[in-house]
Symmetry: C2
Subunit: 108 residues, 2 copies
DNA sequence: TCCTTGTTTGGTCATTTTGCCAAATTGCCA
DNA sequence: TGGCAATTTGGCAAAATGACCAAACAAGGA
């Protein structure tokens, strides 16, 4: 792979890596429903605030979410809704895998 | 987040993590066109064979690709084509981000 | 059976990622 | 300005990831 091709895939990988964490997936799922403050998200997840803040920074730097300060609070919202299409396909992969396990059981 | 909800997002994260690497993205892109042997993919990427083999194992364990041995060679192919939809959205995120940088330049 | 080609596995090391705490920052209001 | 609540940043230790080499495995042909 030449370096130009590589950098194309590196740029893509940054976006996908930003989604590649259970907590960040949960956050994206919540933000798909409505915007949330850091504090709200922190309570929903149950980790330290600083941890959530860093997860949000990852999503923000990747361009997936947007932040807006209103008074003392910072509200995050989903910037690119098509991200949700990911989930549909991910579910399909999970279903396919599950089906195969059932097949194995059946054949036995 | 309760442990049941967590495990749901952990399962999803396994799939997405499997895609979160430039080399693995390249491989998926190639397999979308046609099946390939480990050796062919190795030559296209230019890393050590063992490295490619391990990347393929990650994709296989995630349920994204399928392997089939024919003689001495093992051919990999894409099992879940909807994975390609990822790319469209990823490009959109990249475009959005690029546009914002342009805005910043314009405003200056 | 031995050899050769193609692939996977085990081991090691460097790098990156995570999550917590403590400290710094921001904005509002008395 | 001082104080308070919300958020971010710096720093650190533990865990996960990625890449290479060497060794083990698998399949087919001489």
């Amino acid at each position: 792979m030449d370096s130009k091709t590589l950098s194309k895939y590196e740029a893509r990988a940054v976006i996908i890596k930003a989604m590649a964490h259970p907590t960040r997936l949960f956050i994206v799922d919540q933000l798909a429903k409505k915007e949330r403050s850091v504090n709200e998200l922190t309570e929903m997840v149950g980790d330290d605030v600083s941890t959530i803040s860093k997860h949000l920074a990852v999503l923000r730097n990747a361009g997936i979410v947007r932040d807006e300060r209103r008074g003392a609070q910072v509200f995050y919202s989903l910037k690119v809704p098509c991200i949700l299409n990911f989930f549909g396909c991910v579910e399909q992969v999970l279903r396919t895998t599950a089906d195969e396990h059932l097949q194995v059981i059946k054949i036995r």
